[in-house]
Symmetry: C2
């Protein structure tokens, strides 16, 4: 896809159709970027398809575009990466994680509520904005889903047949992350809070089929561990 083509997000976009951008996207298009009627843009539906489009209306309140062809050379991930991670005490670090995880590629982020969580409340609207902006910047084909803050046990219950990994900091035999997962697979990786998972949480995960993994030889902060998972998977599936 042309590096210089501005991407906008419209979940209801279709081929050869008129698409109306949301107020936020319209403001970004017409006010911030000062694009105008007749300009070419790209419109992503966030579900794997990106369209070439031409702006037909670009007013103070409305931005409409006519989609033409589907952009074929957009990258589509050949793996599914779900990161379930305890939000950091410092929200800036978690917001940074969300941006970088999306840049490297992540399908679902589930903020975890753990026994040792210092952060027990989390607003996701700002995180979704950050994820959407990173989605558009990074040229990913799929918008990252950000789930609400979910208790650890509920996440453990929710998993099915994907590769299940837990990156806890306790001693013990661990496989390096990239050696514990096959390319092109679906995975969920659990990352704990600053105080790590509790022994109870670790036992529950292990008894539920989660495999303990190492993310390397250095001590990574929580948000860095989350990014490591996304970077390692990007390399593994390149």
């Amino acid at each position: 896809m042309k590096e210089n083509l501005h991407i906008f997000y419209a979940p209801d976009a279709a081929e050869n159709a008129t698409v109306y951008l949301s107020d936020e996207e319209a403001a970004h298009c017409c006010k911030v970027l000062r694009l105008a009627t007749g300009d070419n843009i790209a419109i992503a539906d966030g579900r794997c398809t990106v369209y070439n489009a031409v702006i037909t209306v670009c007013s103070k309140n409305t931005c409409a575009a006519q989609t033409t062809s589907i952009i074929s050379d957009i990258y589509r991930r050949n793996y599914f990466n779900h990161v379930a991670i305890a939000p950091t005490k410092n929200i800036d670090r978690f917001e940074w994680f969300v941006e970088k995880a999306v840049e490297f590629g992540v399908d679902t982020i589930t903020p975890l509520l753990c026994d040792h969580s210092e952060r027990k409340i989390l607003k996701t609207d700002r995180l979704e904005k950050i994820a959407l902006s990173a989605f558009k910047q990074s040229g990913n084909a799929v918008v990252t889903t950000i789930n609400p803050l979910t208790p650890f046990a509920d996440v453990i219950k929710s998993v099915s047949d994907e590769t299940k990994l837990i990156a806890h900091c306790e001693e013990g035999e661990k496989t390096f992350f990239s050696n514990a997962i096959l390319p092109h697979s679906r995975s969920i990786t659990l990352i704990g809070p600053e105080g790590d998972f509790s022994d109870k949480e670790i036992s529950l995960a292990l008894s539920s089929g989660f495999r303990p993994v190492s993310l390397g030889n250095t001590r990574l902060r929580t948000e860095t561990a989350g990014v490591a998972v996304c970077a390692f998977l990007a390399a593994l599936n390149n």
Copy 2:
């Protein structure tokens, strides 16, 4: 090394010797962490050795410790990672890169002055503080060297027999980073500014033996590209 052992940096540390911490490290030890005489700490010389030590003086102005044994299970990188990267316009993004690069493992960071650089002045003292703090947190054995802002051509001239890689965004055949480098090797990777390298800079690098590499299928911001190099090398050398 015990997760809970506080690490302090003293470049002149030796075995079975009295070590005086710098004012900054002393303040962190005695005032911030409230450690006291008799407490066990770890002292890193930043050149690969970390010592067990016991605090002997912990006053308002002075902190001294007696080193005993060498801590053997400290991780020592089996590769040399030099990242030469153009600082971002937004300094927060570059400071974030420094912290995360150190967590994943980087030996030398050389801020690059490029044709398209928006940032032409860079203070490195704050970056060195961030690198030192991340060094202590991450349990690395070697302190990262942060060079002053250096013109692109000077960096190209300075390289010798390491693996030379350039991650430019221009079209063309590129090997994926992790396939362009052998484990346990010395490498330098060039990362350009937001506006990418100029054609002149790319030609100079290629004619000087730098190999163009891809950092993946998504578009990464400058600071994320820098972290990608450090994360991919950590995985490759794990």
